[in-house]
């Protein structure tokens, strides 16, 4: 852990976004994770995405559970709301917060232990309920805080740092998220920010349950030969199906795309996603096709990355429950407590 605070000085020529902030203004405290941790790159990518989207930091709620990954919200968006919850319970805390105040942007940050083991059920239910959130799993395949045991996402046959082979089957959170109806599903790699940053930006702008599985090598316990979550392994086996550019507002689409190679997807809020196809046959609107594609490639030992599925017309939990448009904290007493006559009426309707 670094003892000194990151100096406040920044490059004098740093660009500012629409709000007049530089990307440095979206930072949090200095990381206490091990040097070189993939999670720090995900932190940097979240900072970059929020900077590029000109998000007002006080409009974001970052919620996490327990683990190395769940510590990271302390390292970005120092001026946002944060809640470091119980192990595996981030999804229910986030769901509750979202129901109470639908105006905030919800960032759920979790890890493979937090989401694929102790919080597996919580993960599943927040996805199937279509909570409007960006759910990021910082997936390193090991329990780093307890010195490197296999986690539930470690691939069968991969080796621990001590040379032990994993005999359990792996949970593929992306496959589960697809099956449970997530309306924005992506996988990326902490070592590839050009892919990761636009995916986070698009997920934040997506209305509905967005899920991103980010493979994030653990330098201390899972970056050796025999690991399938190491820098070298992921770089060798990465099969990116597409590259994404996020277009906010009316900016014209840049012209350097070869014709026919770009698929434009317009989301609910007007955000346009320009998808440059790397795999000509891949269709990110085909949930079944995506699931099959994933299985086929996983069997070949390939790690499929990119925007795997998106439903631009998705609905979220608030729509399903027909909740009030106004966040609860801004409703006045009259609205919250309409009196016994209204209560009698409701009771009568239920008899």
């Amino acid at each position: 852990m670094t003892y000194i605070a990151k100096p406040k000085f920044h490059h004098p020529g740093l660009k500012k976004n629409e709000l007049g902030y530089t990307h440095r203004d979206y930072e949090g405290k200095i990381s206490t994770l091990c040097a070189g941790c993939g999670h720090d790159s995900i932190t940097a990518s979240i900072i970059e995405a929020c900077y590029e989207l000109s998000i007002e930091p006080h409009r974001v709620a970052k919620i996490s559970g327990i683990g190395c990954s769940s510590k990271t919200p302390d390292y970005f968006l120092g001026n946002s709301h944060g809640f470091n919850s119980v192990h595996g319970r981030m999804p229910s805390v986030l769901t509750g917060a979202n129901l109470a105040n639908r105006d905030l942007i919800y960032l759920g940050v979790s890890g493979d232990g937090d989401s694929a083991s102790i919080g597996f059920g919580q993960f599943a239910h927040s996805i199937r309920r279509a909570v409007n959130m960006t759910y990021i799993v910082e997936n390193n395949g090991v329990y780093g805080l307890t010195k490197g045991q296999f986690s539930a996402t470690a691939d069968r046959g991969s080796k621990s740092k001590k040379g032990v082979t994993n005999t359990d089957n792996a949970i593929d959170l992306v496959a589960i998220a697809l099956q449970l109806g997530a309306t924005f599903v992506a996988r990326s790699f902490s070592g590839d920010k050009t892919q990761l940053v636009p995916l986070i930006a698009a997920a934040i702008r997506h209305k509905g349950a967005s899920f991103i599985d980010v493979i994030s090598p653990c330098i201390a316990f899972n970056n050796h030969a025999g690991s399938t979550k190491s820098f070298d392994y992921v770089r060798e086996h990465n099969d990116a199906v597409n590259r994404l550019d996020v277009l906010v507002g009316r900016e014209p689409i840049s012209v350097d795309y070869a014709p026919g190679t770009v698929q434009l997807v317009e989301q609910h809020d007007g955000t346009r996603l320009a998808l440059r196809k790397l795999d000509a046959d891949y269709d990110p609107h085909d949930r079944l096709g995506a699931m099959t594609f994933l299985q086929k490639h996983a069997a070949k030992g390939q790690i499929v990355t990119g925007l795997l599925y998106v439903d631009p017309d998705a609905e979220d939990l608030h729509t399903h429950l027909d909740t009030v448009e106004t966040p609860l904290n801004t409703l006045d007493e009259q609205a919250l407590c309409p009196g016994s006559a209204v209560l009698d009426k409701i009771n009568a309707s239920l008899r």
């Binding site: 852990m1 091990c34 070189g36 820098f231």
Partner: protein
């Protein structure tokens, strides 16, 4: 781009902007760290070895280091390097026992013409090697222009005495009051080498109507300053006009304020911004209630019955031609006459060598300057060397010292039977500063403090006595605060491509966005693709060899804080913080061969 060769001594030297900009290449960050540690004598000795006059320069240097200081590109103001040098001089213990001892005489005799900084630097380098050095000066005491032209309220005699005595104490023979009138005669005395460090002693004239008639109240600036310095002049009229915009003009106006000048004005031809005087000297003058009037060209001295009554100025404005050259053209406003009792003319200095005879083997160029080799400082007479203002016209003390070192090296090599054109390479030391996982031998926590102001004596008190020093210098608390502003640019970021796993940790932590991993390309193209803009193309790009993914690491040295966070967050030690020290070659350096010792 090709991978950067960090073993070339110049590469890291350039990164230490202050040291690179200093003519004597004083290791600035090294002595500033020593000041922060309270090791003032050690800090002083580093300076003394490199620039010979730390106490004098700490008050008067033209400080080319400060505009170069990296801190000035990161925030508003550079580190107050010059005044920290004074701290080392002010708070050191007795250092006499640390000075070199006069060496056993080697039988070689050197004559040095002029007792200023250039000659004294040569004597300082050569005397300990056994040379018999004889310094001739027309003034009774050593110091040259440092003593005669710099006012005492900026540089007290005690400081000059102390630092010239260190040199004369090395067994140097000082012949005060002996002006050399004939080089021919000096050559006839069979010295093994002669060094000319006689300065640029003549003040430029201003030949406009009325100059002769009103001569009694028109004084040439440097001559007048010398007369004040030696006590020949102790008063001036109530209303004084100083003509000229250089540092001499600033010294003239501030001196006049102390000798009875109640209304002192500086008038310059050019714009205020273009004046040659250092910004801080202009500030000091303005602080003493001296207005600086610009865009006014003197056209006549007004006089009545041989008595000066004023100066008439034509008003001008700046116009720029197609090539961007500035011309001063009349603005059309009526001329203005400013009444005054005395005028000080400080419009420049000239070299003068009336004492060098035509048959001494010294050739002069069309500007009447001696032909001097800029590397070896030898003239067309192989036994005669020039340095300081005498070599290339008026500069300043630190340049004179740098010339002195180089000339001394030439003299030493010549008299050792070596080729003076072959200059030994400097010795370079590079060593890791790592003490623990996150501990470094230097303080890498970057201070956010703004530049600390040097305390000044109260103006009323300061203006009363010409010998009262105006600047009080930093106290130890201010000195520590200012020293902490130094970014330790000599502690270099050293990158090892084979160790890098491209995890991006350094990119993510770097507070200045200096580091980029990208595909290689030509420099201009690479500069376009960096993480942050790269406006200063004179600042190097540090490019690695190819990495595993085929990319390269590119670091823009421009605004790196040398905080070491890249190395702290690097999991494999691909980044390391290594201190770079360069030992400039001086006469008598142990390493006189061409062997290179680098990273």
């Amino acid at each position: 781009m090709k991978p950067t060769d960090i073993s070339a001594p110049d590469y890291f030297h350039k990164v230490v902007d202050c040291q690179w900009a200093c003519p004597a290449h004083t290791p600035v960050p090294e002595y500033i760290r020593l000041i922060a540690e309270g090791r003032y004598s050690d800090a002083y000795m580093i300076n003394w070895k490199s620039n010979v006059f730390p106490g004098i320069l700490g008050r008067t240097c033209d400080r080319p280091c400060e505009p170069a200081c990296r801190r000035g590109r990161v925030e508003d103001n550079p580190v107050a390097i010059c005044r920290l040098k004074r701290v080392a001089a002010d708070f050191k213990d007795d250092i006499k026992h640390r000075l070199p001892k006069p060496g056993p005489k080697n039988g070689k005799r050197i004559a040095l013409v002029g007792g200023g900084p250039a000659s004294l630097a040569v004597a300082r380098d050569l005397a300990p090697l056994g040379y018999h050095c004889t310094v001739f000066d027309g003034d009774p005491k050593a110091g040259g222009m440092m003593r005669s032209q710099i006012p005492k309220f900026r540089l007290p005699d005690s400081v000059i005495d102390e630092e010239t005595d260190y040199i004369l104490g090395l067994g140097v023979d000082f012949k005060g009051g002996q002006r050399i009138d004939s080089l021919k005669q000096l050559l006839a005395e069979n010295y093994d080498a002669i060094f000319v460090g006689s300065g640029a002693p003549r003040g430029r004239e201003l030949d406009i109507p009325g100059r002769k008639e009103a001569a009694a109240n028109i004084h040439i600036g440097i001559e007048w300053l010398a007369n004040v310095s030696f006590g020949h002049v102790d008063k001036i009229g109530r209303r004084v006009i100083v003509l000229g915009g250089g540092n001499t003009a600033m010294d003239c106006c501030r001196t006049a304020r102390r000798l009875g000048g109640e209304s002192v004005k500086v008038v310059v031809r050019s714009g205020f911004e273009e004046m040659k005087a250092s910004p801080w000297e202009k500030e000091d003058a303005i602080h003493e209630d001296i207005p600086i009037l610009n865009y006014m060209v003197p056209v006549a001295f007004k006089h009545v019955a041989g008595k000066l009554i004023g100066v008439t100025f034509q008003k001008v404005k700046a116009e720029y031609d197609a090539k961007g050259r500035r011309n001063l053209v009349p603005s059309g406003e009526p001329d203005e006459t400013i009444p005054c009792d005395d005028v000080l003319v400080a419009v420049g200095q000239e070299n003068a060598f009336p004492w060098i005879e035509a048959d001494c083997g010294i050739e002069f160029d069309k500007w009447h300057m001696p032909k001097v080799d800029p590397k070896t400082f030898v003239s067309t007479n192989p036994k005669v060397f020039f340095g300081g203002d005498a070599a290339f016209g008026p500069k300043n003390i630190i340049w004179a010292v740098a010339h002195g070192h180089d000339a001394a090296l030439s003299i030493h090599r010549m008299l050792s039977g070596e080729d003076i054109n072959e200059r030994p390479l400097p010795e370079v030391h590079v060593s890791s500063q790592k003490m623990g996982i996150h501990e470094w031998s230097y303080d890498n926590d970057i201070s956010a403090d703004k530049r600390f102001k040097v305390p000044h004596r109260d103006k009323v008190v300061a203006l009363k006595d010409i010998r009262t020093e105006v600047e009080l210098g930093y106290d130890l608390k201010l000195a520590l605060g200012e020293a902490q502003r130094c970014l330790n640019c000599d502690v270099q970021t050293v990158f090892s491509a084979p160790l890098c796993i491209e995890c991006d940790a350094c990119v993510d932590i770097c507070p200045m966005d200096c580091i980029t991993f990208t595909e290689n390309g030509e420099e201009d193209d690479l500069r376009q693709r960096l993480k942050a803009p790269s406006p200063h193309h004179d600042q190097a790009l540090y490019v690695s060899g190819d990495l595993k993914t085929g990319r390269v690491m590119v670091k823009d040295e421009d605004v790196c804080l040398h905080c070491g966070l890249c190395a702290e967050r690097c999991p494999t030690g691909a980044w390391d913080m290594q201190k770079y020290l360069i030992d400039m070659v001086q006469a008598g350096s142990t390493c006189q061969s061409k062997a290179r010792s680098a990273a």
